[in-house]
Symmetry: C2
Amino acid sequence: MTNIFFKDNKVDVKGLIPGQSIDCVIIGFDQHELKILLLKWKNKELWSVPGGFIYKNDDMDSAAVRVLKNRTGLDFLFLEQFYTFGNCNRGKLEPGFWEENIPEFGSDFIDWLKQRFISTGYLSLVDIAKCNPVPDFISDVCEWISVDNLPKLIFDHDLIVKKALSHIKIQINYLPIGISLLPKKFTMKSLRNLYESILNRSLDRGNFQKKILKLKILIRHEKQLTGAANKAPYLYSFDKAKYKSLLDEGIGFIN
Amino acid sequence: MTNIFFKDNKVDVKGLIPGQSIDCVIIGFDQHELKILLLKWKNKELWSVPGGFIYKNDDMDSAAVRVLKNRTGLDFLFLEQFYTFGNCNRGKLEPGFWEENIPEFGSDFIDWLKQRFISTGYLSLVDIAKCNPVPDFISDVCEWISVDNLPKLIFDHDLIVKKALSHIKIQINYLPIGISLLPKKFTMKSLRNLYESILNRSLDRGNFQKKILKLKILIRHEKQLTGAANKAPYLYSFDKAKYKSLLDEGIGFIN
DNA sequence: ACAAAAGTGTTTATAATACACCCATGA
DNA sequence: TCATGGGTGTATTATAAACACTTTTGT
């Protein structure tokens, strides 16, 4: 639990910028599908994207880094702002929601939560295997959920997730997709599956392989004997330096 | 002058969301170059992008529409959010700046202005000929300035402009470039010049023409006799319906 | 030997690029 | 009739798409 804005066991709201929040869409890739890190609210069948607030002497980006660190245990992740959600009716809940669900945090905090919030959405791409998901003060579960099978989300978080996913799709050639979402060593099939999941269409096996090999950003390693009755695939890793220098002009092997 | 938050000749700050602002990068195209609508602050050699604040019962998008309307006299323009600027040191000015420059607005407003602001940047593309630039309460000039020759800008407005221009460049195939920035009828050369200005490189004349004609979004009109000693160019206009249906998938004639 | 999936090659179609050609215009 | 810029065509190259062929693996 992030406890930085707690004081005498009550939430100290004074140090926070009012009316402004951060929401992080944290994306991972698990074998064959994209997943998103979600929080399940205590005693509710209601989920949300991890979020947080901004300190008065904090850059907004730093606040996003903090949220990410608190939920995943990870630092130095890819993190990028993608949209700010500012509709005036975006935070509506049934009356008494906060009082029922988090009475222990005190009425000052509850009043504070009831104000209108403008929230800036951040996108992060992470390797699920490295993550250590931790619930926050308002949730009891923090879990990877398939983006194809999302539960009921609070507020406008379904919109936030949708925007984030379309951001990834549009920016696919300019985001560190492979290097952020895959483990250090991976097969060509994994990499292709990843791109197929994001684009939501199948890509020709042979052409995909040819194109990405031509970019010279992959290092080929030993074969991986899977035990299956077929040819074993090579393992690959990224040449980080080449990957990053290519990223600026776009890793344009998909159109 | 926008006077909606004035009351008894003083600025009434109560109705506004504190700490949150809008900045509009309004882009036009004048013959051969991209221009941006800037405000010159009273008695200062200091310019800024038009901005404004958000009412407590106002969507952020509506606030941006209002700013645009107030500065240009125009409604129904292309307007799109592109980034939110949230560094904690982004509003620094020398001490006494507000007191010296706008004492007439009262100390409540000045105190209010001194708080930290998180500002969301909006991009608008407009036809310069249709605009009627109007200064706001803090400026005495509202003028189109070439983006290649920007004056000293206040706060982080140079960063805001830079981000907006790179946004246009990256999103070029998904923005209503031609239809927003050009007059109703235009020559092929104007259209090409526009794209060249945005991309900051020259495009082959023949290929450009062939590609855009193949999209079937242009309607050819009468020739325009320029008085020059050469073949007269055709005038074109956009087929709005076809243009808009193409935009979703990207007007992809530039790579 | 066979099925299955990996790695690579081939063919075809499409698109990008460079630039050549002819035409209209006013001096 | 000449220079200038506009409209269009062509040859070349590069890229994309479809899919065929070969290789490796375990049964």
